[in-house]
Point group: C2
Chain length 410, copies 2
């Protein structure tokens, strides 16, 4: 058996989410039904603008349909960058996968081998460090710190990254970042990304994998939307999906997009061994969701939902001061992108709560589900809770009141 | 980059299949549309007997919906076996994956590590030996020979398999078989399977992974349907999907089913790192396809299609004698299960054709696509062609005539 640790956040969700009445652990935007999606374009199941129920369910287009790949490529328009002007991304540089989780896995399985040096920005989605470790890589964590607002301290990265030797070997194989970040909801701005790219360039163009699954849910009016890694680096690799920002987790489609065609070709070669293709039904729905006229409405809905719900959450947690009527203190960095907040609860003496037993008891007694931060993202995050706030607003408001009442008796 | 070779058969299909007019390379039963599937139960898209377009597209049930898992479990009824009576498979012992290819990959990623000894029956689907090799395993091929009708010579296996030492280490980690076989269409009968199981048992219950993706397409009235590995071995692991036997390749659902709950648990732990869940749309369609009253009609259609088309193919190839009107000789073992035939073409002097250039030229000049056997299944199969015959009967008949005319001028 390969040495892979349990994926705590996924196991936590699997264990509790079907019995939660108020799921505030979920990190997806409030999921749409197929009918609700179609209604954005004035369509119904009996009036579909794309082939769906009448086409034979073959494997179809192995790398994803041309329409879907083109619509994904359109998310990466031409940009001026560290590397000069980067043109619009060709559809050929997009490879469709069954979800962003499969996209990330594929990049590791393709690019990382035993002994390779991989730097992973943490805290993050556990997959991003556990999978390269399971493949035998030497994984080094680039730890972001709460006391610095989870900002990317590029000087730490500069110390960590390795140049290849004169034989071309021994250099860092891959740098992995998440933007917007999971679990903190923090955005790494374009200026910071450009510094990261400069460091990667100075070490022989180390590829940067950027998990951008929460992109483009940017809802803090004080912070400009950051660049995609594909906008600023010719050795950038971005992964994404329709689960978080597009509210369609139930269709399993994601993508690897890369500036280097040979990276896509290598991923396609490896992908032949675990995928063949994605669902033809999902591909058709996804192409529709990302089509012109629909994608704008979809994002407008979800950004508005995040903005509205964030203000409710921020008010509830007293903007980091404390929760009205209870004795616990709260601290967090503002979540500016994506759907999640990483909040620390301490008692009057500054002692953090036991996040795992807290979340377990909260679920048992109230039906509200949260993700325990210390248990799922590393012991240095004891007392932290990850809350997804892009659910239905009423569910959020009810869930928060239940948390308040629970805390009063805690 | 991991050391993984190009997956020749998948790359071949990807390169040629969208431009083929007569795709006789395809190994799926003639794919149904959603409408055609629904019509088997007298349903339509506006009259669906399951929730589909109105449910929010969340991740849903992480391991697959209870209905779908139960319907898969029902494919493995109680059996008396080498290990005594094996009860009906519980739904908990089924784990849903995005296709059988993902199921096989998951079993390897979960059970096989660097240095492990893995025995793989060949010729077979390339994934089954290339993936464990890419994970660092010592892969030994158990080669089946055309001159023996591709029968499983268990004495060869007996010599190959390794008992664990006194420290419990060094034993064979996994035995991998394919039944019905790809690319030969040969069935390994229950008696042979029981001998394989005995050998595995004598070496400390080595798990046997049986890729049963072509099951239960048994269409040779002279050969009884063989057991599933789950019917006869408590350490058996079976993989399957809806692509081949159920004519629904475009929905990406497959499964790992195992008698040992801990194997399913270990696979579920590893699966958290590359899957989360399958498409909610696909899951609903798949549960319907395998439901009582539908699954029987689906199999009846596909078995009848295989039976009818096999007789056309067998007549065309002169039952292994030669093709009427052309100078080439043919030889093959009867395809008794699944959808594919592995046929060798030689000229009058007994020299095999160059399968790769033959298939390339055939496609270019006639639009007929076949899979070159030597190129895709190993150089010892020079001159072999893999033909899928479970396509639409008219396409098959036209394609065969085009092959005849091509051969006349070859």
């Amino acid at each position: 058996m390969v040495q892979i640790k349990p994926f705590n956040v996924e196991q936590w969700m699997d264990k509790y989410e079907t019995t939660a009445t108020h799921n505030l652990a979920e990190s997806c935007s409030d999921s749409l039904s197929l009918n609700a999606l179609l209604s954005l374009g004035g369509h119904t199941l009996s009036n579909l603008p794309f082939p769906f129920s009448s086409i034979p369910l073959t494997y179809g287009h192995i790398r994803g349909s041309p329409e879907f790949r083109q619509n994904v490529a359109a998310l990466y328009p031409p940009q001026s960058s560290n590397d000069g002007l980067l043109p619009a991304l060709p559809a050929e540089n997009v490879l469709i996968t069954p979800g962003a989780i499969a996209a990330n896995f594929l990049v590791f399985y393709t690019l990382v081998g035993a002994g390779d040096h991989v730097i992973v920005m943490t805290p993050t989605y556990q997959q991003l460090h556990s999978v390269p470790a399971s493949l035998g890589a030497e994984v080094e964590e680039w730890k972001l710190r709460p006391e610095e607002g989870f900002k990317a301290d590029v000087e730490v990265l500069r110390e960590m990254v390795r140049k290849p030797g004169s034989d071309g070997k021994g250099g860092t194989k891959l740098i992995v970042i998440t933007n917007p970040n999971n679990p903190t909801g923090v955005i790494h701005p374009t200026a910071a990304l450009k510094e990261i790219v400069s460091i990667a360039q100075s070490c022989g163009n180390v590829p940067i994998l950027s998990d951008e699954v929460y992109r483009p849910l940017f809802h803090n009016p004080d912070i400009p939307a950051p660049a995609s890694i594909l906008d600023i680096y010719s050795h950038g690799i971005a992964t994404g999906s329709l689960s978080k920002a597009y509210a369609l987790a139930g269709i399993r489609v994601g993508w690897v997009a890369a500036r280097q065609s040979r990276v896509i070709q290598a991923c396609a070669t490896a992908r032949d061994y675990n995928t063949i293709c994605v669902s033809m039904l999902d591909d058709a729905v996804a192409a529709y969701a990302l089509s012109k006229g629909i994608v704008e409405k979809l994002l407008e809905r979800n950004v508005a939902l995040c903005k509205r719900n964030w203000s409710i959450v921020d008010r509830f947690f007293g903007s980091g001061g404390g929760i009205d009527g209870v004795r616990f203190k709260t601290s967090y960095t503002r979540s500016s992108g994506g759907t999640i907040l990483f909040v620390r609860l301490t008692d009057r003496d500054g002692v953090p709560i036991d996040d795992k037993s807290f979340c377990h008891d909260l679920h048992t007694r109230t039906g509200v589900l949260l993700v325990p931060g210390g248990f799922c993202f590393g012991s240095e995050f004891k007392g932290y809770l990850r809350m997804g706030y892009a659910c239905n607003t009423k569910v959020l408001e009810e869930g928060l009141e239940k948390i308040r009442n629970f805390l009063k008796e805690f």
